[in-house]
Each structure stands twice: as structure tokens, then as C-alpha cells.
């Protein structure tokens, strides 16, 4: 009897975890499939390489592709060195104490702040106070602040996971702390750090609220870091929200999803090759 009860519990548990995994997969698949089915028919070369006409009811989305790429690039270029630097400081250059706890508390709190708050801060600080206006720079800086906690967190974990003996070996061969960090620790931690950066790319590409407030929603092709711009996600939002064109919105969404997928696949492939060189 007891044996039967245990077996039944096993069976139920197995069914539940299977169900959870399956459901997750199904939701993911449905969303992607829905947007691709609705959007892909409108994704043509003219759509990708053309400029929007009539507020985006017709024409293409090239300015928003450029805007997305520029904004994300600025955010990543600022957040990665800052985040990895902070992680290196926390793991290699200081001991656990009040300061590290404070920094960790700060970054964790930052990670929980809704993006619209970052947007508001970016608007007040970068756009108005620093006079950067609605621009790629304002938007990029705001996104950088937003993704910084993720990059710090993942980098810190990746660096902590590097075996201690690598550091011992490096020091024993006459390396300074900085040489040890750059030559023995960081290369080993790179896949983990890259995961954080890729998460940051994903959040930057997909962000709308903070971007509208700081980079604006101009449909012109940006010409400098100080140009306002509109990202694909913002374009999607405006097209759908203001009822301009649901078809164009879906098409934009399809491009967005494919872009994020492509980034993930490429990054994973690059990391796999990197790892294969060491092992």
C-alpha cells in the first residue's frame, strides 16, 4: 500500500513538472508563432530598407532599425565596462564588508525598479538637466543604468565561479593582481559575463517606456548621438496603440523577434567556439 502511494506521488510529481515545462514552451511558441504569422507576410526588402510614410502606415522601418541598433550599442558600451568593472572590484579587489554589502544592496534595488522610473529619471536628468535633449545619448545612458544591475550580478557570479587555483597559479608565476584578473580570471568568466550582456541587449531592444521618455519617437534616420530616434519596440507600440496600422505593427514585431533570436544564436555560437579553444 505504502509502495503504491509513493509510486503515485512520483507519477503525479512527474506529470506536474512535465506539464509546467510543456506549458511554458507552448506559451512561448504561441506568442512567437502568432507574431511571425501575422507579421512575416509584410516583411519585404522594401519594409526593411525603406523609410516610413504616413506615420508608418506605409513604407519601411529602416530608421527604427538603425535607432534600435544605435541605442542598444550605446547602452551596452557604457554598461559593460562599468558593470564588469564593478564586479571585478567586488570580487577581486575588496573583501566582504559594509561597502560591498551596500553596493550589492544598491544594485539589487536598482534591478527591481520599473523601467518607467528609469525613463523619468533619464528625462529629468539627461534630457533636461544635462541638456542632452531627446537623443540616442540620453536614451542609451538611461538604458545603461537600467541594465547595469543585471550585468554586475551575472559578471560577479561568473567571476566567483572561476576556480581559486587559477588565481594562485597566476600569482605564483609573478602576475600582478590586474594581470591575474585580465589574463586568468576574465577569459574563464567570459561566457558568464556575456550571458549578462546578452540579457542587457534583450532588455534594451525590447524597452519602450524608458526610451520614449528619453530618446523620443522621431522617424528620421538619426545622424549623430544627439539625434532623437525611435526604436522598433517604440514603433510597434505607437503603431498598435494609435491604431495606425496593425499589419505594420506585426511586421515590426516579427523583425524585432527575429533580431533578438539572431543575437542569441550568434552569441551562443561565438561562446561555444571560444570555449572549444580552451577545452
Amino acid at each position: 500500500m505504502i509502495e503504491l502511494g509513493r509510486r503515485r506521488t512520483q507519477g503525479i510529481a512527474r506529470a506536474m513538472v512535465w506539464g509546467a515545462a510543456l506549458l511554458t514552451l507552448a506559451v512561448l511558441f504561441l506568442i512567437i508563432a502568432h507574431i511571425l504569422i501575422e507579421g512575416l507576410p509584410y516583411v519585404t526588402p522594401e519594409f526593411l530598407l525603406g523609410s516610413p510614410r504616413h506615420m508608418g502606415r506605409e513604407g519601411g522601418i529602416l530608421p527604427t532599425i538603425i535607432g534600435t541598433a544605435a541605442l542598444t550599442a550605446v547602452a551596452i558600451l557604457i554598461a559593460t565596462p562599468l558593470g564588469v568593472g564593478t564586479a571585478i572590484y567586488l570580487t577581486e579587489y575588496t573583501r566582504e564588508g559594509r561597502l560591498t554589502r551596500f553596493i550589492r544592496f544598491g544594485t539589487e534595488s536598482l534591478a527591481g525598479v520599473p523601467s518607467i522610473i528609469f525613463g523619468l529619471f533619464g528625462f529629468v536628468f539627461f534630457v533636461i538637466a544635462l541638456g542632452l535633449g531627446w537623443s540616442i545619448l540620453s536614451g542609451g545612458l538611461t538604458l545603461a543604468a537600467m541594465i547595469l544591475p543585471t550585468i554586475i550580478r551575472t559578471s560577479e557570479e561568473a567571476i566567483r565561479a572561476v576556480p581559486k587555483v587559477y588565481r594562485d597559479v597566476s600569482f605564483s608565476l609573478g602576475a600582478t593582481r590586474w594581470q591575474t584578473v585580465t589574463r586568468a580570471v576574465l577569459p574563464t568568466a567570459l561566457p558568464g559575463i556575456a550571458t549578462g550582456v546578452i540579457l542587457g541587449v534583450g532588455r534594451s531592444v525590447g524597452e519602450t517606456a524608458a526610451v520614449i521618455l528619453t530618446a523620443g519617437s522621431s522617424l528620421h534616420v538619426p545622424t549623430s548621438l544627439f539625434s532623437p530616434t525611435r526604436t522598433m519596440a517604440v514603433h510597434f507600440y505607437i503603431l498598435a496603440r494609435e491604431g495606425i496600422s496593425l499589419e505594420m505593427a506585426y511586421a515590426t514585431g516579427a523583425v524585432l523577434i527575429l533580431a533578438v533570436l539572431a543575437i542569441n544564436v550568434l552569441a551562443n555560437e561565438a561562446l561555444r567556439r571560444l570555449a572549444a579553444r580552451a577545452r
Binding site: 587555483v165 594562485d168 597559479v169 597566476s170 605564483s172 608565476l173 609573478g174 594581470q179 586568468a184
Partner: protein
């Protein structure tokens, strides 16, 4: 009982004078006086937590990296006091190589492992680096096994090969002293024998200080040996005499396996 210095002073390569090392308030090494002669194999043996690793890591100042460690007494390398404020620690570690208990290749190619140290000081010339690698790998008796795959990942080597690679890596600077902390623990007898024979050849140019993986290993390769127990140096002397006819009761008990 520590006997008087065994050989003429000029022959002493590494000298520890009243050396004590504390982890916080816990002593890891207590008032150790020891003279290690040049170009011999010197074995430090004793049960675990006897202070062997602490002593080894005092000679290349690796203990400095552990938070809360402090030291009393001196360590001399030749006539240089290595804890003197003017000591360049990186330079010291290039003169005193170290091999760790578990094979610890870095996750890069065999070649890059060996030239890791030289690259740190800015050696860039390809031919020079290749010379260094060949010489070090030859001295560690692994050149023939790896010369055709220098650019494959070091982690693909067997455990014994990895450990010989680590010895080669620590030899890249032609150090004066080589410290080995149980270098053959976890290795098979054939790999162990290879490493022991390469150490015997190495002692012609390098002073070898080893915490052997076993007393048997100590008696196979050591010229001199010292017995440590709970951070104290119990007895030191010529290896043959120490292992067959120890003066201290505790040394005898340990060697004969009465405790350990």
C-alpha cells in the same frame, strides 16, 4: 630538537629564521628554524595540517594573498631577506617557482600555459617564446609527448601530463628554487615515477623543496628531509639517516605508521 646547521653557510639556499605564521590567531607555523641546501631535494613531511603547505607558501610569499595571515621571523633566499620592504614580490615568485597539489593547467593551450609567465613580463618574440617553451617542457620530461600538439588545450592532457606541464610552466623563468606541494597526489605510479625522475634531474640546477605525497616518496627522492608536526619542526637531517634512524620519538612513530 633541531640539529645545528648541516653544511657550510655558503651552501644554504633558503634559510628560515624563527619563522612563525598565524592565520588570524591560529598558528600555522611556530618558530621554525631551517636551512635548505642548494641544488638538493629537500622533503617536508608530516601529517596533514602540520604546516607543510604554509611553509612552502612562505618561501614565495603566497601566504600574503590570504586575508588575515601574519608572520614573524625571516626567510632568506641566498642573502636576500624576502620579506624586506624593498622586495619585488613578482620578481621573487619568478625566482621561486611553485607547483600545486592538483594539476592546475589554465584553460588555454599547452604552449600558452608554459609561456604565461614570460608573457607577463612582456616577452613577445615568437621564437624566444618557442625556445622557452621547448626548454621548460624538456626539463619537465614532457616535450616528446606534447611537441606535436602545443596549441591544443592543456585540459585535454592526462592528469600526469598536466602536472608535468605545470612543472614546465614554473620552470619557464629558470627559477632558483622549485616548491612542490604534494605534486603527485592523485596520480598513477607511472606518472609519479616520471615526475620523480625529472625532479632528480632538475636538482642539478634548481633547489627543490617538496612536500611529498607520501613518506615513501620522501625516502625515494629526498637528499634531506624535515618532519613537521602541528606547525613545529620536530627534526631535520640527512634523508637516509632520518628515515632509518630518527632521533625524535614522534618522528619514528610517524614514519613507522603509529599515527598519521
Amino acid at each position: 630538537m633541531v640539529d645545528s646547521l648541516p653544511a657550510p653557510a655558503a651552501q644554504q639556499h633558503v634559510v628560515l629564521r624563527d619563522l612563525s605564521i598565524f592565520y588570524g590567531s591560529v598558528p600555522g607555523l611556530r618558530n621554525v628554524n631551517l636551512a635548505i641546501p642548494r641544488h638538493q631535494i629537500f622533503a617536508l613531511f608530516g601529517p596533514s595540517r602540520s604546516g607543510k603547505t604554509t611553509l612552502l607558501r612562505a618561501i614565495n610569499r603566497m601566504n600574503d594573498l590570504i586575508p588575515g595571515v601574519h608572520r614573524q621571523g625571516q626567510v632568506y633566499l641566498g642573502d636576500q631577506e624576502i620579506y624586506a620592504p624593498q622586495t619585488d614580490v613578482a620578481d621573487l615568485r619568478r625566482r621561486v617557482g611553485m607547483v600545486f597539489a592538483l594539476p592546475s593547467p589554465l584553460p588555454m593551450s599547452i604552449f600558452e600555459n608554459v609561456v604565461y609567465g614570460p608573457r607577463l613580463v612582456g616577452v613577445r618574440d615568437r621564437r624566444r617564446l618557442e625556445e622557452i617553451a621547448e626548454q621548460a617542457l624538456t626539463q619537465a620530461a614532457i616535450w616528446d609527448e606534447v611537441k606535436d600538439r602545443l596549441h591544443t588545450p592543456a585540459l585535454r592532457l592526462s592528469g600526469g601530463q598536466q602536472q608535468r606541464l605545470c612543472i614546465a610552466r614554473s620552470l619557464a623563468f629558470e627559477p632558483e628554487v622549485l616548491l612542490l606541494d604534494e605534486p603527485t597526489s592523485g596520480l598513477d605510479p607511472i606518472s609519479t615515477a616520471r615526475i620523480e625522475s625529472s625532479l632528480r634531474q632538475l636538482k642539478e640546477r634548481v633547489t627543490v623543496v617538496i612536500a611529498p605525497s607520501s613518506i615513501q616518496q620522501a625516502s625515494r627522492i629526498a637528499d634531506r628531509a624535515a618532519f613537521l608536526l602541528m606547525g613545529e619542526l620536530i627534526e631535520e637531517g640527512e634523508a637516509g639517516q632520518l628515515f632509518t634512524n630518527p632521533r625524535d620519538r614522534r618522528t619514528e612513530d610517524y614514519i613507522t605508521g603509529r599515527f598519521g
